[in-house]
Amino acid sequence: MPKVMLRRDSDGLLICYVPKKDLEGKVASLEFDQPGKWGGRMVLDDGTAFHIEPLDAPPVFPAEMRASRG
């Protein structure tokens, strides 16, 4: 369960940073991105995929959260 850090860059894109791997990538797709449900499968632009337990509301960015390899 790596810890990931999500932030928005200056263009408003979601950026995911995985400290353990020094991996930084744009979030290419996110399964649930609605006001009532947020999370699920997240794929970065280099193809790495994670799974984030869906939340009831989008978090406030920057946000640190646990993600599993998915």
Binding site: M5, R7, S10, Y17, P19, K21, D22, L23, E24, G25, D45, D46, P62, A63, E64
Partner: protein, 480 residues
């Protein structure tokens, strides 16, 4: 125009790798590549931040060097104690040329070397008592110091001293922060882990402990993060930010003070120059205090102008106007520099091998002078550094990670660059070969190179080196 085609460059890498035994060849081949601006992610083509192979001559430093030498060392009003044998601190003393103002030995301590000078008995019986005594001694001799950081050298970790406990007691006793830093040289694969450890200790012991000294923040407060004021770099950056209307509250850590560091959580934005060594603390401040951070680049007028505008984007119109004014103000100076030096430097080819941010950040400055970077590499870069690098480079630029002295020599003898910018370990080899060389870690006793003022000095220095008639008269001693 590059000297090599893509195929030739690949061939060169293959040839260099041939001398290695099979296992080493397989490992090293992952650290060498030819750049292709089409690839978004440089890190997918190159492996970095791996342990150097035994027997391969690497130029890397140790975690202690990253913590004491880079991140902690420049904080001028604290005393940084090299805890362990005397050599680690003495042989690196003041070598980075982090300039500062103050009275050395009275209220600032940057160029002094404090060490616990371990002897055999300290290794056998432990050094904790000695450390406790040193903390008091330091307080007696240098009462104006604002705190002490204990930078562990290898033996301290090996004998298992409890410096945390001593530091805690010391803090109570002297009433100033005493920060234990577990940056023993054997940790990690390079100085890079030392940066990280230093960031983490600053976070735990200084930043989050808060400070209430009545500091009143303004809407234009910024902090310069990751500028170590080498040859005055942070000063020549700072004046540009101030001229455009911002208030620089803190310098991390060149010419920086403990109070500045503690005030940083009150700034509006963190401006990050050296991403590698201080992205950790920037990310922490973003998560904890909601302070955004952005990377900028003050090498060469093109990048400076772009950075000033990008910084101004985060503020109101007054600052945006200020940025334009600053750019316009220095434009004639830039044109004069270019008119003087471009004819002398046009088309010259450069190879770099440095650390931190420079393998990518300085590319623009050379290009502003009409030069071309044909090879670049990091001593201790990580994936995210290489992602940021490929964008800056042209086609078929060689990229080498943790390059060995042998590999670099081979590349140089084939590519025959007009200038090499690397560290002190490479300097004399190449100078004796008769190849123009500048020590680009601490600007070869010159600087500053940041900002517009720095660009003038940079251009002069590069010209002075590249067009120096002495190189043609040199004959390598081993070739006579």
């Amino acid at each position: 125009m590059s000297v090599l085609t893509r195929e030739e460059a690949q061939g060169l890498i293959q040839r260099v790798l041939e001398v290695y035994p099979e296992e080493a060849r397989a490992e090293r081949s992952q650290h060498l590549m030819v750049s292709d601006p089409a690839t978004e992610q440089g890190s997918s083509c190159i492996t970095s931040n791996r342990k150097s192979l035994p027997g391969v001559m690497t130029a890397r430093g140790c975690a202690y060097a990253g913590s004491k030498g880079v991140v902690w060392g420049p904080i001028k009003d604290m005393i940084h104690l090299s805890h362990g044998p005397v050599g680690c601190g003495q042989y690196s003393r003041a070598g980075r040329r982090n300039y500062y103002v103050g009275y050395t030995g009275v209220n600032t301590f940057g160029t002094m070397n404090f060490t616990s000078d371990f002897q055999e008995k300290d290794i056998v019986f432990g050094g904790d008592k000695k450390l406790a005594k040193i903390l008091e001694e330091v307080e007696t001799l240098f009462p104006l110091s604002k705190g002490i950081s204990v930078q562990s050298e290898c033996p301290v970790g090996l004998i298992g001293d409890d410096i945390e406990a001593v530091a805690r007691k010391g803090t109570e006793k002297i009433g100033k922060p005493v920060v234990p830093v577990r940056c023993e040289g054997f940790r990690g694969v390079s100085q890079s882990l030392g940066h990280h450890i230093a960031n983490d200790t600053i976070r735990d012991h200084l930043l989050d402990s808060g400070l209430d000294d009545g500091f009143v923040s303004s809407p234009y407060d910024v902090a310069i993060i990751g500028d170590y004021n080498i040859g005055g770099d942070a000063w020549s950056s700072r004046i540009l930010l101030e001229e455009m209307g911002l208030r620089v509250v803190a310098q991390w850590s060149g010419d920086g003070t403990l109070a500045e560091i503690k005030r940083t959580p009150k700034v509006k934005i963190n401006l990050l120059h050296c991403y590698r060594s201080m992205n950790y603390i920037s990310r922490h401040m973003e998560a904890k205090y909601g302070i955004p951070w952005m990377e900028y680049n003050f090498f060469g007028p093109t990048k400076i102008a772009a950075s000033l505008r990008a910084i101004a984007e985060h503020f109101d119109d007054k600052i945006k106007e200020g940025a334009e004014k600053v750019i316009a103000k220095y434009q004639p100076m830039v044109e004069a520099i270019n008119a003087k030096y471009i004819p002398r430097l046009q088309g010259k080819r450069v190879m770099l091998y440095v650390g931190g941010l420079r393998p990518r950040h300085v590319v623009g400055a050379y290009e502003d002078l009409g030069m071309e970077v044909v090879g670049t590499g990091y001593e201790f870069g990580h994936n995210d550094d290489y992602d940021r690098t490929t964008k800056e480079l042209g086609n078929t630029t060689l990229i080498y990670d943790d390059v060995s002295e042998f590999e670099l020599e081979q590349f140089v003898s084939r590519i025959k660059p007009d200038l090499i910018g690397a560290g002190i370990k490479e300097k004399y080899v190449y100078q004796k070969m008769g190849i123009p060389f500048r020590q680009m870690h601490s600007w070869d006793y010159s600087g500053p190179y940041h900002g517009y003022d720095g660009y003038a000095i940079f251009a002069r220095d590069i010209d002075m080196t590249v067009n120096n008639p002495c190189w043609k008269k040199m004959k390598a001693p081993w070739k006579s």
